[in-house]
Amino acid sequence: MEYIIISTGFALMLLGLWGILSQKNLIKIILGFTIFNTGINIVMVSIGYVRGKAAPILDVIKPSEAASKIVDPIPQALVLTAIVIGLGVTALMLVYVLKLHREKNSLDINSFKDLKW
């Protein structure tokens, strides 16, 4: 099970990278990033999975036996942070694209080559 999930994560990352590297439309590139980040998050969560264990919330599970009953909470905590960071970056990128669009009236990535060499 966890193998399927982690593979999905990797696949999504590759898909996202493909989008980033090959798409011409800036919005699509940002979507590529989102997919890429989602892939990363899935990989992270699956890293924390322990076979056959429950979520790390001690409402039913007693604290004394928690160690043997829950999955690893750390990656989940990290994913939470990662998601927020991803959100911040995505928002910033979108705003950049907004401004870039105003600049050249285009969303094509190749119309922004003013700086070179």
């Binding site: 990363i40 990989v43 942070t81 950049y96 922004f112 080559k113 003013d114 070179k116």
Partner: protein, 1044 residues
């Protein structure tokens, strides 16, 4: 002590608080920001001070009340204190600098700025891997925001590129971190380092991912187009931060994570660093946008630092001082340069000529450039010295070459730029505003460079002996630069004379050094005397001249390798500024500098080999080189020969000496060139002459010397420009000296000394007098002069005496050199080289005649009818030197005998014997005093004979003879002096086809074209840059882990 955690708390507190300021309090926010940054600087500063003064343990800061690895902890040790301090300092100064820009954009920008600096602090201090990631992201996002302080399309594009690239990089880092956690069960950096993940084939992948992303954050070549664009487009104030602060923090992160993978990863880091250093600098050579150029330079410097980290197991405990020296120089110089760039706002480096409107800014610019290249007394000098010597001690030749090559390439563009600023026309350039809040930070950075340089001096092995006394004098002269010439001139001369008395007891008994000290110091006084003829304040001249003399005397005084190299570089720097003062000397000063840097690096390489042979820092180490001795000797010889302008390395000299100011030419020609001679002499005396390598080297140098002389004299004969003629003559004379000392016998060296002393005297006279005439007549071209003998009889006599000496005509001292030459050549058996030397000696008459005839004889030109004799301040030193020549001619034994005695122990047989005034060798004999008496007596008798016979001589005027046709379109073509040796040129001119110039030109074109081709990879497409990043990861992976 204020805890380091307050850096975070206060920065965030103020940032969050700014949102509360309404319109009424809006003006408070910038002061709040400055206060916050000041507080951060204070906290890190007090910790730094604490660590420097007390030997206290590293302070760990726990958060959340738990111990690591269960909670995040920060660490404040001496290194962290240093890094946070420099980050906060540049943050604070940068905020001052950007004060108005930030204010215009509003409190939001200030929040971002504050958080940005804070995030770098945390990046340095944190000991938790994921926390590191979070704050790296904070930093990235803040950077992406700060880029847009400049509201331009370019900045937008650069920011977008930055976001895309860092987006990919951070994703890779995140995957690396999570797998590192998976393998080790911890996120604490110390746990990760201890986990030894590099050892296992399965876990090494996490190490790879972490390394590759950290390295990518440091913008390795070639996956760094996004980084360069940021430097180009962002506000230079932000560029300064990214270059000085972000890069320092990133460097420290790499340092922190260095043990993660184990030793083999160090090699990869070193190689990537090396490629970045060379590649980035190479591409800088074709760049003319200031900010972009600074970007290339920044990335190059970080590459160098990366390389140093990668070599850390080789460098051992020296790594710290090396990295410190280079990092702090990069930090201060780059911040300063970016800030200067923001002040000038030129789109092209040529626009920096505007700096000349403020000499102080020009001074700062020079400081930064010299600090980047690694000149003394800046910390980078010591860093590079230690780096090269330590590498040599470990036999890392390839790395040494890489570093020196990269540094040289960096010199190519930095000095071109500096030259533009010093020399290009600046009248039409737009004015720029000088605001104190922008100048102040730049000054601070310059002061940091000087102060840290002096501070690190004693930390380097042998560095404690370096004499800063002359430098203090230079500094003093800077301080009084506003005073008029005659005061500064008197002070300078006084300083030199005082130094003579100071140094005489030190050198007494060491004749070799005494002679050169005499040439440098007496020559200094005499050439400076000519300075009294100048008016005004002559800004910048005296500090630079004294810097050159400080370097020269330092070379003499040096007892250790580093002292010698320190002084050598000082001399180079001083002379560069002197040379470039001339009206048309920009390209020549530039090529002088490039050859000097190349030569200095050759010397550095040689010294490093010498040091590494026995770990001896004294100059005597040259005597026992056992690591690649032949290479070491060759490099040292080549290094010294760049100063003596031997064939192949001479192309800088004619322009540099010819175009320099009239009293600078004698300084650089008569005096400065002797530094190279001194170096060669020291080398030859110490080196193992009996080795095959040394013998071959000397043989080659003998030929080089002979051919240099031939080429120099012949080129001089075809010059139309009086000063260039003299410059080529110097090339030739130095060729004689090189040839003479390469003979390596007592006679050869005596000839060398005779030439050295003679050349010092007659070239000083010639350059002083001819320089004075050129200045007076306002033309360099001899065919525009003529008939000056009537106007300037004293100058004529001075020149006449000089050319008799150059020609080697008895009875003057030039003949002593020729005679010694004949004997030495035949004794040594270098017949053909000798024949070339003598042939060249006769060619000298061609230019000597041309010089004296075209200037003094022939027809007086109409526009020179009211010209008077040149200034007495030029004639007095010249005549003092003439007295010297006369004494040397009449009583050569007083000088040559002690020299012979001094040389005797160095050479197996004593071949010159003195009986009274008569010198005898196994071949011939020579009696200078008798010749003088005979010639003088006979001459006077003959003169009396003529006087007696021609009692009724009548003087006729210029126009008693008339010969003229129509005046042609180019009048000079019919002037007799113009192309006077046309026939000779037709016969033998092919011998001086400028092959060497063509060689160096095509070399430089090749490099520039290669650079131009290389930088095509930065095509501007952000997607391509993203591909570069991924490609970098892929290639690195394949090489490091894929078994490629």
């Amino acid at each position: 002590m204020v805890g380091p955690i307050y850096i975070i708390a206060v920065a965030l507190g103020i940032a969050f608080f700014m949102g509360l300021f309404g319109k009424s309090l809006k003006n408070l926010s910038e002061w709040a920001m400055l206060a916050g940054l000041g507080f951060m600087t204070y906290v890190s500063g007090q910790w730094l001070l604490e660590f420097m003064s007390n030997n206290r343990a590293v302070e760990t800061i726990f958060t959340a009340g738990f111990k690591p690895p269960y909670s995040i902890n920060l660490q404040m040790g001496s290194i962290e204190a240093f890094f946070t301090f420099i980050i906060n300092v540049v943050g604070f100064l940068g905020a001052m600098y950007l004060f108005k820009d930030l204010k215009k954009t509003g409190p939001n920008a200030m929040m971002v700025y504050l958080v940005f600096i804070m995030s770098l602090n945390v990046v340095v201090m944190t000991r938790d891997m994921f926390n590191l990631f979070v704050f790296l992201e904070v930093g990235s996002i803040a950077t992406a925001g700060l880029i847009l302080l400049t509201k331009s399309g370019e900045a937008l594009q650069a920011g977008m590129k930055y976001l895309i690239a860092t987006g990919i990089i951070s994703g890779v880092l995140l995957i690396g971190i999570i797998f590192a956690y998976y393998f080790s069960g911890s996120l604490n950096i110390d746990d990760l380092l201890a986990a030894n993940m590099g050892a296992s084939k399965t876990t090494v992948i996490a190490v790879f991912l972490i390394y590759v992303s950290i390295i990518l954050e440091l913008k390795p070549f070639p996956a760094n187009g996004w980084g360069i664009d940021v430097y180009t487009a962002a506000n230079p104030g932000i560029g300064a931060l990214v270059s000085a602060a972000t890069a320092s923090a990133g460097f420290y992160v790499l340092y922190k994570l260095l043990p993660l993978g184990g030793a083999e990863w160090l090699n990869y880091i070193a190689v990537i660093g090396g490629i970045t250093f060379v590649g980035s600098n190479l591409m800088g050579t074709k760049q003319d946008r200031p900010n972009r150029l600074l970007g290339y330079s920044s990335i190059g410097q970080i590459g160098l630092l990366m390389m140093i980290l990668g070599l850390s197991d080789i460098l051992g405990e020296k790594m710290m001082i090396i990295a410190f020296g280079i990092l702090i120089s990069h930090y201060a110089a780059k911040a300063g340069l970016f800030w200067l760039s923001g002040l000038i706002q030129a789109k092209d480096i040529k626009g920096w000529a505007a700096l000349r409107k403020s000499p102080f800014l020009l001074f700062l610019f020079g400081t930064f450039v010299f600090a980047l290249i690694g000149f003394p007394p800046f910390p980078s000098f010591f860093g590079k010295w230690e780096l090269i010597t330590t590498l040599a001690a470990n036999g890392q030749w390839a790395w040494m070459v890489t570093i020196l090559a990269g540094s040289f390439i960096e010199g190519i563009y930095l000095f071109r730029w500096l030259g533009y600023a010093i020399k290009l026309d600046h009248e039409d350039l737009p004015d720029f505003k000088i605001e104190w809040n922008k100048i102040f930070p730049i000054w601070i950075m310059a002061i940091v460079l000087y102060a840290v340089g002096v501070y690190v001096t004693p930390m380097v092995e042998g560095g404690m002996f370096i004499n800063y006394l002359p430098l203090m004098f230079v500094l003093f002269l800077f301080a009084i630069d506003f005073l008029p010439v005659y005061i500064k001139n008197t002070i300078s001369i006084g300083g030199i004379i005082w130094y003579m008395f100071h140094i005489y007891p030190v050198l007494e008994g060491d004749l070799l050094r005494l002679i050169f000290a005499g040439i440098f110091l007496v020559g200094g006084v005499l050439t400076l005397m000519a300075g009294y003829s100048k008016k005004g304040t002559r800004k910048g001249f005296y500090p630079m001249a004294m810097m050159m003399f400080a370097g020269l005397i330092g070379i003499i005084e040096a007892s250790t390798l580093i002292e010698f190299f320190f002084s050598w570089e000082l001399m180079t720097a001083g002379s560069y500024f002197l040379i470039i003062r001339g009206k048309r000397s920009m390209p020549h000063g530039y090529s002088y500098m490039l050859f000097s840097i190349g030569g200095a690096y050759a010397i550095l390489f040689g010294f490093a080999l010498a040091f590494a042979s026995n770990f001896d820092t004294s100059l005597a180490a040259l005597g026992s080189i056992n690591l690649l001795p032949t290479l070491a000797y060759t490099l040292l010889a080549v290094g010294f020969m760049t100063k003596t302008a031997s064939l192949g390395l001479h192309i800088w000299l004619p322009g540099a000496h010819g175009e320099a100011e009239s009293d600078v030419s004698p300084m650089v020609s008569a005096i400065l060139l002797k530094a190279g001679v001194f170096g060669l002499m020291i080398l030859f005396l110490y080196m193992d002459r009996t080795s095959v390598g040394a013998t071959n080297l000397l043989y080659v140098l003998g030929w080089v010397g002979a051919l240099t002389t031939l080429m120099g004299n012949m080129s001089a004969a075809f010059q139309e420009d009086a000063k260039r003629l003299l410059a080529y003559s110097s090339v030739a004379q130095l060729g004689y000296i090189l040839f003479a000392i390469s003979i390596m016998s007592q006679l050869g060296w005596l000839a060398g000394f005779t030439y050295t002393i003679n050349h010092f005297m007659f070239k000083a006279i010639l350059f002083l007098v001819v320089g004075g005439i050129v200045a007076k007549l306002g033309t360099h071209y001899m065919y525009e002069m003529g008939g000056m003998i009537k106007k300037m009889p004293f100058s004529f006599i001075a020149v006449l005496v000089s050319i008799i000496v150059i020609g080697g005509i008895p009875p003057l001292s030039g003949f002593a050199g020729k005679w010694l030459f004949y004997n030495a050549v035949i004794e040594k058996g270098w017949y053909f080289q000798g024949a070339i030397i003598f042939f060249a000696g006769i060619i000298a008459f061609l230019y000597l005649f041309k010089l004296i005839h075209s200037i003094f004889l022939g027809q007086l030109k109409d526009n020179h009818r009211n010209i008077k004799e040149i200034s007495a301040w030029i004639l007095v030193p010249s005549y003092i030197l003439i007295i010297g020549i006369m004494i040397f001619s009449a009583f050569p034994q007083y000088i040559l005998q002690p020299i012979g005695d001094m040389l005797a122990p160095y050479f197996s047989t004593e071949t010159l014997v003195w009986e009274g005034t008569k010198a005898t060798t196994s071949l011939g004999y020579w009696d200078g005093t008798t010749i003088m008496i005979v010639v003088a007596t006979a001459f006077l008798l003959l003169l009396a004979w003529l006087l007696a016979l021609s009692s009724k001589t009548k003087k006729i005027e210029q126009f008693n003879i008339v010969f003229a046709a129509e005046r042609p379109f180019r009048p000079e073509t019919t002037h007799v002096s113009y192309n006077i040796y046309a026939g000779y040129k037709k016969a033998l001119g092919f011998l001086i086809t400028p092959l060497v110039t063509a060689f160096w030109e095509s070399m430089s074109n090749l490099v520039l074209e290669f650079a131009n081709w290389l930088r095509r990879i930065y095509g501007g497409s952000m997607q391509n840059y993203a591909i570069h990043v991924v490609l970098f990861i892929v290639v690195f992976y394949l090489i490091a882990l894929g078994g490629l």
